[in-house]
Point group: C2
Chain length 199, copies 2
DNA sequence: TTAACATACGTACAGTATGTATGTAAATAT
DNA sequence: ATATTTACATACATACTGTACGTATGTTAA
């Protein structure tokens, strides 16, 4: 029998979830649409009805992962009232969230290559990067960090964390320790941006 | 007529150079081997004689670019006797070299996606990342930077610079200014690692 | 000098993947 | 109740990589 609106949405979500598994497991290039739809009990016709093409499917997966990790970050930051703590907590949440279930492959490896860096960056700014930027902006206005280019700081810090995630992901055996090391370095790096207080 | 050793080497180098152009212009996935060999006046048979597969060709290109940029970095660092200056100069040289002629697409976008992050990291460590790590190690032994995990610092800084490169590459219209901004932030971040002198 | 072998290709084809055009039955709108 | 849109399936066109195989030319050693 045929599907109604709600069931259709369910079908789409199911496709995205299955695709997510395939993309994380095999990487974008080696993930086969045929395999994905087979697992969903459909054919490629269905997939091309819901998504423009393979890249479109990947984009949907990418956004889902971004949103998920972004949620962690926001939640972690919201747990503190102190701006500096918010920043640090957000960073740690990002490290942990991005490492989780090989999200980093979608977020950091295939993301830029498949979407192109500019598209990737726009997406990234919409989600995780934006909160970092706003936090830095706000802290700068509070005179908590030095009056440097917020844009530049955001990119440098974001880059640090992205690479840290990939590094951590390759040492999952001692994950907590490596996260700790990374966070220590990050905190020290951030100290370099802290404005000397002269009340 | 048949080719001798030297001519063969020339053919291989030519293929690498042409492939490099195609990879930077179209990206790995959209670069066609057929087009590459056509431009070289050969067929795919020749290519598969010299390289294992498309990935093998990309690896050769990747190594060539790495070596090139690595050369810039070493040269820039060697221009100073002061460890701190060496580090900063090396960083700047990396930013400039990696941005040059869209090298960033091969080095930072397709590199990890095509080779896989672990292979990519091994290559990167062999070339550019290694000099950074050794510099940090040496500076730590001189008590110039804090006794944090050199590994962690290397990854965070390397990540910063990689992302900075991509950012710069997307603002080529005001390239020098953006590089300046990035370097300013980088210098401040590095300050966070500097050991307070207590002689 | 010539026989044995390696090298450097070219050619043809197989396999696999994406993407597109078209058909169709069910669901929804009118 | 009928028309139209939706949600797929099917079949096919296209493009690309990779591989098997053939061949002509260099190279080396007997």
């Amino acid at each position: 029998m045929k599907k109604n609106k709600a069931e259709t949405e369910q079908t789409v979500q199911n496709l995205i979830n299955i695709a997510r598994h395939h993309f994380t497991a095999y990487g974008y290039a080696n993930a086969s649409l045929e395999e994905i739809v087979k697992e969903a009990g459909l054919t490629r016709g269905a997939l091309y009805h819901h998504f423009k093409n393979k890249k479109g499917l990947f984009l949907a997966v990418f956004e889902a992962v971004q949103e998920e990790v972004g949620g962690y970050v926001e939640a972690a930051a919201a747990q503190s009232k102190d701006s500096w703590d918010q920043l640090v907590n957000g960073c740690q949440a990002f490290l942990e969230g991005a490492v989780e279930s090989h999200n980093q492959r979608i977020l950091l490896i295939d993301g830029p290559a498949v979407l192109g860096w500019d598209t990737f960056r726009k997406m990234d700014e919409k989600y995780s990067m934006n909160s970092l930027k706003e936090q830095l902006q706000s802290m700068q206005e509070q005179n908590l960090i030095k009056p440097l280019s917020v844009e530049a700081m955001t990119h440098c810090l974001s880059g640090s964390m992205n690479e840290a995630v990939l590094w951590i992901a390759n040492h999952l055996d001692r994950k907590t320790d490596v996260i700790k090391e990374a966070m220590t370095v990050l905190r020290h790096l951030l100290e370099g941006l802290r404005e000397e207080q002269n009340t």
